[in-house]
Symmetry: C2
Subunit: 397 residues, 2 copies
């Protein structure tokens, strides 16, 4: 090669977008440890520990709980390809980009898909799911997004779970932006298959997708008439590597699993309840500041807002790109732009895992205020920060 | 959680199996760098550099050359699901586990598969591929393994490439255990789609699968009648993230790409020709030592032996597990056991990337001799090492 390449030395960044988010130095350090082989007894012990901690974080006793060797979308695909066969009927709830993606994947599986829709930024109405079952009594599953990363919606799941059970259908839940940051009770809520990503509230680099399958879901998998369309994501084989047999399927991504184990350890050390409270508090403070600045949250109903992913409506006359560019250039801060229908219309601020800190809330309110003023928007930074601080003071009382 | 977990501190290992192999501290260090977002302009430049170096290593000008977000088998699946549609005909060459896997995946794509077989440990005879086209004139592709990791076979490709061209079929090549260690000329040899893994001769941790598609292959992809069965591996979308548009598809595994970039940089610094010679020399020395010890290589024909993956027939009366356990316990050395038909019958020694060193050759001959003697086998370690040294001395003349 004639061209020469520089040494890798990333510039300073503060990741406050939809993910990846900030990663603890402990996790980065774990990534850089020397490798074991994927069948080394010591590595298999590391996989056992990883599965144990994943079960704790998913709040489940499901045996089949493991990280798939791909990013969150690979987890989504894993759940759908393992549970659906050509000709199956599936109810898919769509109120954002990730619901659309679920529908697309279900269709690629050859399933007949019935969509239950809601406007973006609103939750799915359980009544509509009930209605969908009327026209589709044999639906094998209901798939729904718990934390819609494109809109910031937090979907209540318990009633929909009951409807699925009443109709003898599996409940499939996308928890990419909730696992480890928002209450998620896989067993108690009757979730049959759930997947997540590592680069969100688990605060690990992207590259793995934790999944969990109930016995009922495993039963569906074991009784398929056709092979799973994907060899790479076929759990009927993968569960043998992660299970007792330890049969080789594909080479596990060793260092990514080192990193995930460490990230999970950090979650367990903090404790789930404390962690959820921290996420809620920092989000509440941030939202108070945003609203005090005259900006509006995209999700109108406070009860349905995700603390992990805070979507802000971009005010008229403000240039999305210029604001994000300003934040990146002057502060090294990344926030996310809108996705799909919300492209150019929303900012997505991720306050997840290591990124969910009082420091980041105060800094971002200041930096965003600066960027907005630079665009001619009258942003009262003082009031914004004071409003955020009030939330912290209230919580400390 | 009640259970406590220790700090991650892997024991000493020397990885001389089929992969993962040893990884340079430079690569481990790159893995642990702080993250960019996947749409950060600086990260996109890193992806550009990664693609440039991948093209160099694949010896191709193919625009569509990128690392898929999964291990080598995800690359295999990527190639097949993007090129095959239900009802297509495909010729798949099978002389080991990875040929079998190719066939399995092609069948899951709904293709009608014609197998061309050879005994394990022998190459595929081009004449048989020619014959297969007689009964299958419309075959869309011929898929073949360049470096069969289960047997140590190095498959000559040029004649088979010509046969594929004569029949207007695409040539698909598995280069998981050859890329970066063995001559592989994607453009010159007329390969239309090729995939590899990172944990072999590129000496990077597992987790990514470099792929490359010729314009002819892209054309087939662009003219599909049906959607690619896998959303996660659908190149019609993924090429837009890695191409000019930079459209979000899934979150790229940032740190793994940092690591791959550094590993590729090391390959480019050494130079391909020098690197291939190093792999050949260390393999030649190792094989000379093994044969001097009275052991036999699994691949009889010297011309067809891979220098990266050296498969040794286990002598009668020797317990596979006990030998590998001894090596692991006394030396921290990992070598691979047999796969599929060769389970219990072969050891697979990977001399790839950082693992392909004179030090490792000499050490392993000594350690393996020790392990064999421990099992009652008369291993003349002195003669083995002297024979290996002769190969190095010859090369230095």
């Amino acid at each position: 090669m004639k061209k020469t390449y520089k040494q890798l030395a990333p510039d300073y960044r503060l990741l406050l977008g939809p993910g990846p988010v900030e990663v603890s130095p402990r996790v980065l350090n774990a990534l850089s440890k020397p490798l074991y082989g994927h069948l080394d007894p010591n590595f298999l012990e590391i996989t056992n520990e990883t599965m144990e901690m994943l079960r704790h974080v998913f709040q489940t006793n499901n045996r089949l709980t493991l990280p798939m060797s791909g990013t969150g979308s690979a987890g989504m695909e894993t759940v759908m390809v393992n549970l659906l066969e050509p000709g199956d009927e599936a109810i898919v709830c769509v109120n954002g980009v990730f619901g659309q993606r679920l529908r697309d994947i279900a269709q690629r599986c050859g399933a007949k898909v019935i969509s239950v829709e809601a406007p973006w930024g609103e939750i799915i109405d359980p009544e509509k799911v009930r209605e969908a079952f009327r026209s589709c009594r044999k639906a094998k599953l209901v798939a729904i997004v718990h934390a819609e990363t494109s809109t910031g919606i937090k979907q209540p799941l318990e009633e929909i779970s009951k409807i699925a059970k009443d109709n003898d259908a599996l409940l499939v839940v996308d928890a990419v932006t909730s696992l480890g940051g928002v209450e998620l009770k896989v067993d108690e809520w009757g979730i049959d298959a759930c997947y997540s990503g590592t680069q969100k509230a688990l605060s690990c680099p992207p590259g793995l997708s934790p999944i969990t399958f109930s016995e009922k879901a495993i039963n569906v998998l074991n009784n398929r008439k056709t092979k799973v369309s994907s060899w790479y994501l076929d759990l009927s084989m993968i569960q043998n590597y992660w299970g007792q047999k330890r049969t080789y399927h594909h080479t596990a991504p060793i260092n990514m699993i080192y990193g995930l184990r460490e990230a999970l350890l950090i979650v367990c050390e903090e404790g789930l309840e404390k962690r959820f409270k921290r996420h809620q508090l920092n989000s509440d403070a941030f939202v108070a500041g945003i609203e005090a600045m005259g900006l509006k949250m995209l999700v109108k109903n406070k009860e349905h807002r995700l603390p992990t992913l805070n979507a802000i409506s971009i005010p008229d006359g403000i240039n999305d790109d210029l604001v994000r560019q300003y934040l990146l250039e002057k502060y090294g801060i990344e926030i996310g732009g809108g996705l799909g229908d919300f492209k150019g219309k929303a900012w997505r601020v991720g306050l997840m895992g290591e990124s969910s800190r009082r420091n980041n809330v105060i800094l971002l309110l200041g930096a965003l205020g600066d960027a907005l003023m630079n665009q001619g928007y009258k942003a009262d930074i003082g009031t914004a920060i004071t409003s955020a601080l009030k939330v912290y003071q209230e919580a400390e009382k």
